[in-house]
């Protein structure tokens, strides 16, 4: 069923172009997915050890079952690619996708261009949890920090949600204010703990700025289900989210169960943000700017906005993290500093280019 079925009536441009615009956006998704794949390959070449591109491709192909490729490389190269670079790149992709999708969702839910995944207390909750984790004896830190960060993030949002809820409804302004207030409270506890943390301060600060160093396969496999499930749930509600860009009353009049959609989207966006920050810390800017950039280029329809934001976020964070580990190698720059340093000028450029309503 396409527009051709309507050929006998004069179809104006917009309606005739609708399926085409649709197709264009699908091509954009496929194109970006290919770019993502290329970026993963190319960035796995970049690093302190020089490994030729061909070797990397061979090593990767050799892992595909039923494909026999003679090993012409040393085992250490395989370890560098498989146990150091690849998990880190994949985690960057997952976290970038999660933060962009969560940011898009929050901006849509709150109908506010300033919203980002950390708006209602996730960052401060995770921060406090992580700092408590860093206070643990060193042996327990590796597992303790992410678990406590995750719990802190989810609990902060749960408290904010319960405070802001009025009867059966959830006024979004109250939710933001409650989030900001609880965030400030948790932040003050964190500040005190940081002052008292002594020689652990360095680790805490680099976590708070966001870092992807020392990524292991365990981390990748732990966060993957949360992030994938969360993104799929959010995507199922893409059209209701579009309708909710009108005000809540109009959405209800168009048959949307507004309170249910809000709850599901908040829960899913919080889940993927919490999963993302638990291992990598508070990587800023991705969740704020990628959704805006994608909206500027491809328009406000969440059915396309969400997948395009996910892939763009993944590409952006892989590139930012590659810069973070190579610019001052062997010293690592926190990736959170890189995202803003390179992302902000690009975004300002986009704003200048479009010069029209951006939200």
């Amino acid at each position: 069923m396409t527009i051709e079925a309507l050929r006998d009536i004069p179809v104006p441009q917009a309606i005739a172009a609708y399926p085409l615009r649709w197709r264009g956006r699908i091509y954009a998704i496929i194109g970006l997915a290919i770019v993502l794949f290329v970026v993963i390959l190319v960035t796995s070449v970049v690093g302190s050890t020089d490994i030729p591109f061909f070797t990397i491709v061979s090593v990767m192909l050799s892992k595909i079952p039923f494909l026999t490729i003679d090993q012409t490389w040393s085992n250490s190269i395989e370890i560098i690619i498989f146990d150091i670079r690849l998990p880190r790149i994949l985690l960057a992709a997952l976290v970038g996708a999660a933060l962009s999708v969560a940011g898009t969702t929050y901006q849509g839910l709150f109908r506010n261009p300033l919203a980002d995944p950390y708006l209602i207390g996730v960052a401060q909750g995770a921060g406090l949890g992580a700092i408590i984790g860093f206070m643990l004896p060193s042996v327990l830190q590796i597992t303790g920090v992410p678990i406590l960060a995750f719990i802190g993030a989810v609990m902060a949002v749960a408290v904010v949600y319960m405070v802001a809820r009025v009867g059966r409804s959830l006024p979004m302004t109250t939710l933001i204010l409650a989030g900001v207030a609880l965030g400030a409270f948790l932040q003050s506890i964190s500040s005190y703990l940081m002052l008292a943390s002594g020689d652990r301060l360095h680790g805490i600060i680099s976590w708070l700025l966001g870092t992807l160093s020392l990524t292991t396969w365990d981390q990748v496999t732990t966060v993957t289900p949360y992030i994938i499930i969360g993104i799929v749930i959010i995507y199922l509600y893409a059209r209701p989210l579009n309708v909710m860009q009108l005000d809540e009353e109009q959405a209800q009049q168009l048959g949307i169960n507004v309170e249910k959609v809000k709850l599901i989207l908040l829960a899913a966006a919080t889940l993927i943000t919490a999963a993302a920050v638990s291992f990598c810390g508070i990587i800023g800017f991705v969740g704020l700017i990628i959704p805006h950039a994608v909206r500027l280029i491809w328009g406000p329809d969440h059915r396309f906005l969400l997948p395009l934001a996910a892939i763009s976020g993944a590409i952006f964070l892989i590139l930012a993290d590659t810069a973070a580990r190579t610019i001052m190698a062997p010293t690592e720059i926190p990736v959170g500093a890189i995202t803003a340093f390179f992302g902000a000028p690009f975004f300002l450029y986009l704003l200048r280019q479009k010069k029209r309503a951006i939200f």
Partner: protein, 270 residues
Amino acid sequence: MNNVRLCDITLGYDAKPVLSEVSFEAPAGRMAGIIGPNGCGKSTLIKGLTRILPLQSGRVFLDGHELAKLKRDDVSRLVAVVPQNPIIPDLFTAFEVVLMGRTPHLGLFKYEGARDLAIVYDAMEVTRTIGFADRRVAELSGGEKQRLILARALAQEPKILLLDEPTAHLDIKYQIEMLELVHRLCIDKMLTVIIALHDLNLAVQYCDQLVMFHNGRVHSCGTPSDVITAKAIEEVYGAQVYVYPNPVNNLPFTVVIAEKDREKLFERAN
């Protein structure tokens, strides 16, 4: 059966009812005007009829179905609303906004098909919004936006159309344009139209039936000539006006005369 019937409904927030014991009936193919002073419950009534605000007591029948027993999607397939100050994000195109009217007809996973596009096309053609289907909402004027919302309401394929002061922010040309459009749709599509209006003279010209609210109750209900009298308007609005039959169709015309000129009025009368 294509009509709206309210039986003794009470509506409000928490314990305080905004509307009490409201009963009236609006037939299909006719326009029913809701009039009354600010805060008399016109918008509350519209929220009640779309179940955004649950009824505290009484029953509402839409096209013969009891409102309380309808499913959420069924209500939005039956009733479309043109709200007073709708928020529409600037980035959407006019076409995308009207397409949202198809929401109650599509499930969670379905995309719009050719039939939906055809319905949207029709709705945009009758409201004369098709000419700017490609433009973004940010570029539209107040009158164009209002017609766009009407197009979206039509895309819902409703049997009942509720309008909450659709002419509030428009100048006189667009007020007439909007009401002419609604009037024609009402007859052509046999819609039941319930329209809240601020301007008494506009209400009289376009509505077949008027319901005047006062302090959350129905003050009077009937043809414009029955409802609009100087006495009723003084009771309900607390304002002194003069009501004359207008020379074209003899419908009551409400005139406001400034205090300084009232003596002249009596001189003339004598």
